[in-house]
């Protein structure tokens, strides 16, 4: 196929949009932690932006998308971008340069790893986070991306639909976050119910805004062409974010007052839930998907905080794990071939089989992500240790891990 200019332009712009989501996650998370840990929290995402950006061109892309090995993993044939050039690939995004598709996927890998950091803020050693990130990208992200999106991947052959990453990105990161937080243990003071006051809610909102903005690249870019399907996914994305932000705001209002932190969180979970569905459902279905996401994630968060007693600090599991699960399931309900001929007809259009295929994908990724993350986390724990010392934690990770602080002191 010859290169199509419009498709290429859209995919390159989309890649840049998705890139901006990772600093967005950094600010979103940074504003939710205590003052002494803002910088270290932002640094986690920013360092992953650099680290995974390197690993992806070296071997990550090849493992995820390279020539199939038994439906499980890509081979190393594309190591260091060998055979990945200006000509389109024969199997992925066949109207754009292969490099454009590769870099689009790089941004997905980066943000998925960065998402997990929300579970471990304020206590995980920076060096341990880096080592864990390398292991997790290699042994969890690359295989799962291959299963769902890789040419010949076994879940894609099974017919699990995931337009932009409900399973690969959100369930994967969310469930892994829960496992890692469990291994790492709670922050000092968590069990004593010491208040952990968010340091900067405007910064959280700026981060949520950048995420919302970048998500147009994430979802509409996943059409991989610049035509009607991209527009449809774009509108579905915005609709779901709006519905979920508004719903969460109402939930907080019923309980007490309309909360900005709540509305920002709602927007994010709406975006999470529409991710797998964006290019398979009619845009107006963003409304039930968004409302469902806000309700499901709100109560998942309550359950995590009140019943599970695990300090999964910034609720990556409740937002991405549960939001992604609802989205993957909703894809099976609302998908329609009238929207995307490459999709299927869901429950709403008279076919229950797609729901079963979605449930399979959900169950597989939940199980694999939890188990593999547990093993990798344990490995890092027994070798270099996952946690900072109690003193370092008390002082705050900004100073103890990075020798910097977010805001200047008294003497200007």
């Amino acid at each position: 196929m010859p290169v199509n200019s419009a498709d290429t332009a859209w995919l390159l712009i989309s890649s840049a949009l998705v890139m901006l989501m990772t600093p967005g996650v950094a600010l979103f998370y940074g504003g939710m932690v205590r003052r002494k840990n803002i910088l270290s929290t932002i640094m986690m995402s920013f360092a992953i932006l650099a680290l995974v950006g390197l690993l992806w061109v070296l071997y990550g892309y090849s493992l995820g998308f390279g020539p199939d090995k038994g439906g499980i993993i890509g081979g190393l044939d594309w190591f260091g971008l060998r055979q990945v050039g200006q000509e389109p690939s024969s199997v992925y995004a066949i109207t754009v340069p292969h490099l454009a598709f590769m870099v689009f996927q790089a941004m997905f890998a980066i943000i998925t790893v960065a998402l997990i950091s929300g579970a471990v803020v304020e206590r995980m050693k920076f060096s341990a986070l880096l080592v864990f990130s390398v292991l997790w990208l290699t042994f969890v992200y690359c295989p799962v991306a291959h299963w769902v999106w890789g040419s010949g991947g076994w879940l894609s052959r099974l017919g699990t639909l995931d337009f932009a990453g409900g399973t690969v990105v959100h369930i994967n990161a969310g469930v892994s976050a829960l496992a890692l937080a469990w291994l790492l243990g709670p922050r000092k003071g968590f069990l004593e119910k010491q208040p952990m006051e968010p340091s900067n809610i405007p910064m959280v909102t700026l981060g949520a805004g950048l995420l919302w903005f970048g998500w147009f690249g994430f979802n509409a870019g996943s059409a991989l062409t610049s035509g009607g399907l991209a527009a449809s996914a774009f509108v579905a994305t915005n609709t779901a974010a709006a519905a979920a932000a508004f719903t969460w705001m109402l939930l907080s209002w019923i309980h007490r007052r309309p909360s900005l932190l709540g509305a920002a969180t709602g927007a994010v979970v709406g975006l999470v839930a529409i991710t797998p569905a964006a290019g398979f459902v009619s845009p107006v279905m963003g409304i039930p998907i968004g409302i469902g996401a806000a309700v499901a994630c709100y109560y998942a968060m309550l359950l995590r905080a009140k019943k599970m007693g695990v300090d999964e600090s910034l609720d990556v599991w409740a937002c991405h794990g549960i939001g992604g699960t609802w989205g993957a399931l909703a894809t099976g309900i609302f998908t329609s071939v009238a929207v995307n001929s490459a999709g299927a007809d869901g429950l709403l259009f008279g076919s229950a089989t797609q729901v079963l295929k979605q449930l399979t994908g959900i169950a597989v990724v939940w199980t694999f992500a939890f188990g593999a993350t547990w093993v990798l986390g344990k490995l890092v724990d027994v070798t270099i240790g996952l946690r900072v010392t109690t003193v370092e934690e008390t002082v705050g990770l900004d100073i103890s891990q990075h020798g910097e602080r977010a805001y200047g002191g008294m003497l200007r």
């Binding site: 208040p195 952990m196 006051e197 968010p198 907080s252 309980h255 007490r256 007052r257 909360s259 932190l261 709540g262 969180t265 709100y298 968060m301 309550l302 905080a305 009140k306 609720d315």
Partner: protein, 112 residues
């Protein structure tokens, strides 16, 4: 000389400053402080549920006055800072041994 330390509501700073200036004291030191007396803390929202903040933001005004001016300055601050609700604050009075004006080196009562 006496030092007055008045812990007051944030929103009462302007009224207290005006009252002090009307009593002839235009020099003062103001800081943002946190604390609580009988009023207790504040309940805020997290993404789900709530958390309690034990210390509330207050303003501390420090001013040093002549002994004979103490009753009327105390009176001026008290009436300017009062709402009648809990959390109006507290005033402490401390003896001051000496004072120095840095620019001129003047000491004692001349320095304030």
């Amino acid at each position: 000389m006496k030092k007055i330390e008045a812990i007051i509501r944030e929103e009462k700073l302007d009224a207290v400053r005006t009252a002090l200036e009307a009593s002839g004291y235009c020099g003062m030191t103001v800081s943002e402080v946190s604390g609580h007396g009988r009023q207790g803390g504040l309940t805020l929202q997290w993404r789900v549920g709530e958390y309690k903040v034990d210390f509330l933001p207050k303003i501390k005004v420090e001013v040093v006055v002549l002994d004979e001016d103490l009753p009327r300055t105390l009176n001026a601050i008290t009436s300017a800072a009062r709402t009648g609700e809990m959390g109006d604050g507290k005033i402490f009075v401390l003896p001051v041994d000496d004072a120095v004006r840095v620019r001129t080196g003047e000491e004692g009562e001349n320095a304030i």
